[in-house]
Subunit: 190 residues, 2 copies
DNA sequence: GTTAGCATGTAAGGAGTTACATGATTTT
DNA sequence: AAAATCATGTAACTCCTTACATGCTAAC
């Protein structure tokens, strides 16, 4: 995962409420999928970097909300962190086409403007279509080699890519129909 | 990709015919999918390591098969390399459960014994089922957080995981039916 | 009272990318 | 003759994992 994507995702989680590292990892895993979950050996140094960069700060929680004071370090957003997240969520970046960048952006879509949401989805679709055609080329190359299993593997990959594209297309059409403010003329420009 | 998986895959490709680095990369991409394709900055050092380890050797092709001698370096298997590949293809290792390890093994399945093939497929299925249940747990955790988009993302991930499992199950049942030597009693032990 | 899970961290090392550097061959 | 593609390689850098080290708290 690109470090800016990770940082922005952390900032996004912290925007809901101050959180400590261990818990942050669970949420990260549940948003991005348990696979891309990173290890603590990756997360804690990242939090330290972000603190040094002034994006987050350790919260001095003397609140007796949780009975006993533990050795938890609760992080919260600084104004700079809030601003950084607003910048990320309000713009389109190349990493938005990629798997993880896209997942991270989409997880916070309810805080994204409808127009930008659509643009990001369309960018993602373009990326997936390109991937689909690459996959097709690659299968053509191998087609001479008539190994049954290699073939099955490749077909499965192709299916997955196609499924990905149609999922995105459903999302796009849902976005368009639930925002009828967009003139119908634009809808066919796809 | 774990380096032993990469090395074994390279050995597997070289078993068909001696190949040079550039071409090896295309074949690697077409077998494993164009995504997991690695860069030359990764491949060439790996070939050098393998040469030093005695698994492959540079071929002195004075053969005038291709008209002009170019600056190509053609690698071929050494006896040690052949043996190494035979060991890998003939055994089950933990990396066979994982995405890349499994793809690499399956790409050479036509050179794998039917029994072992089945065991590897079943191991993969177990791994995928575990992944599926992890994903279910993770969605339960997030279910309180009723964000539409996070939800869509997670459902999509779950669908993908389920699709993966049923694909593997189809493969397994095909393996079993096309090898009726296996007593029917074993088939229900699934 | 001991096991399991919560919680934070560091050091070493693995794996791969990008950018750079170079040059041959084929196509337009 | 220029552009594209084939072909090999290195160095710096990024990102991440594993293994280790430590200690608290809750449940059995």
């Amino acid at each position: 995962m690109r470090s800016d994507v990770l940082e922005s995702t952390i900032l996004g989680i912290l925007q809901s409420e101050p959180t400590h590292g261990y818990d942050l990892r669970q949420q990260l895993a549940s948003i991005l999928g348990p696979f891309r979950a990173l290890s603590y050996g990756s997360l804690y140094p990242c939090l330290k970097r972000m603190e040094r960069a002034g994006l987050i700060s350790r919260r001095d929680d003397s609140l007796p909300v949780t009975p006993a004071r533990r050795s938890k370090i609760v992080y919260e957003l600084t104004p700079a962190g809030t601003e950084h997240f607003a910048g990320w969520i309000g713009t389109q970046t190349p990493s938005d086409w990629e798997d993880e960048g896209f997942a991270a952006k989409m997880a916070f879509f309810s805080r994204t403007e409808a127009k930008l949401r659509l643009r990001i989805l369309e960018g993602r679709r373009t990326r997936l279509e390109q991937r689909l055609s690459d996959l097709g080329d690659s299968i053509d190359i191998t087609s001479k080699r008539v190994d049954t299993y290699t073939d099955l593997l490749q077909r499965h990959g192709l299916d997955g890519a196609r499924r990905e594209v149609s999922w995105i297309e459903e999302l796009i059409s849902t976005e368009r129909t639930s925002h009828p403010s967009i003139p119908p003329a634009l809808r066919s420009t796809t």
